[in-house]
Amino acid sequence: MRVRLAFATIFLGILLAAGAALQAHHSFSATYDGNKPITLRGKVVKLGWQNPHAHIYVGVTNADGKVVTWEVESAGPTTLMKQGLRKEDFVGAEVIIKGYLAKDGTPTVNASSFTLVDSKKEYVNEEKTQ
């Protein structure tokens, strides 16, 4: 009985973890508007260095002089590292991001490419899936 309960608990845990991973790895077109390209320039204030997507938080000054923090969804750490980017490169760095606006109107973009201004390190999305 105890063994069965343990197996059931483990199975439930696996199911929950898989569900969370699937939700994190959502479709681009469900969340972002491919008709709204945008270029942002600002300083990285925070970094979420996790799979399946790294999240870069960037302070961007708008026309009124107010700083808006944008959430930038990028490729995962493995892909970024393959392109020569390390976790230490980001926080405090000035970055230029090209991407697409979120459909929900929040300051969120999906990066198609970005450049760290001082180090000149670049990321280019090479994903080929629809």
Binding site: G34, K36, L101, T106, A111, E127, T129
Partner: protein, 162 residues
């Protein structure tokens, strides 16, 4: 003298006809589907630097060209351009304002457009320039995107007629 004039007239008429043939308008009509293998890197897929529609439905007349651009799970963008370069409104999805103009330039079609929409950092204005070239059942589009505060970027996509 009369014979010489006749020969010159025939030669002139022949030359004019050849010139007219050389100036024949390219026809972009048809349904065109993007070719992933023939297009340049990063124009298809989840979030390319420059977005190209996955399908184009084009109807061309001597005076104008109607284009419906469709992308996977994105709302279509359509316009009927007059080929004299007049500015027209592009039917863009809600929240986007776009105007454009088209002109034939030799064997190319050149479409320029300006798209604007609001964002959390204010209004965004993006300029596009597309140069279309048709070669049999293949359509090539070179597209340049320019945005304030950014260097222009250009990508090329190839479409197959279906």
């Amino acid at each position: 003298m009369t014979r010489l004039m006749s020969v010159l007239c025939v030669a002139a008429a022949f030359g004019a006809q050849t010139g007219a043939l050389a100036q024949a308008r390219p026809d972009f009509s048809g349904t065109w589907k993007i070719s992933q293998s023939k297009s340049s890197r990063n124009v298809v897929g989840n979030n390319p630097d420059i977005q190209f529609p996955s399908q184009l439905d084009v109807k061309q007349t001597p005076t104008d060209i109607a284009v419906v651009a469709t992308s996977v799970r994105q709302r279509p963008v359509s316009a009927t351009y007059t080929l004299d370069g007049s500015k027209v409104n592009v039917q863009a999805p809600e929240g986007i304002t776009e105007t454009g103009q088209a002109m034939l330039n030799g064997s190319n079609l050149v479409i320029t457009s300006r798209r604007s929409f609001s964002s959390p950092v204010g209004d965004v204005v993006v300029d596009f320039k597309e140069v279309w070239t048709v070669n049999g059942n293949e359509l090539t589009i070179e597209k340049t995107r320019t945005q304030v505060g950014d260097t222009p970027s250009t990508q090329k996509a190839v479409y197959d007629k279906s």
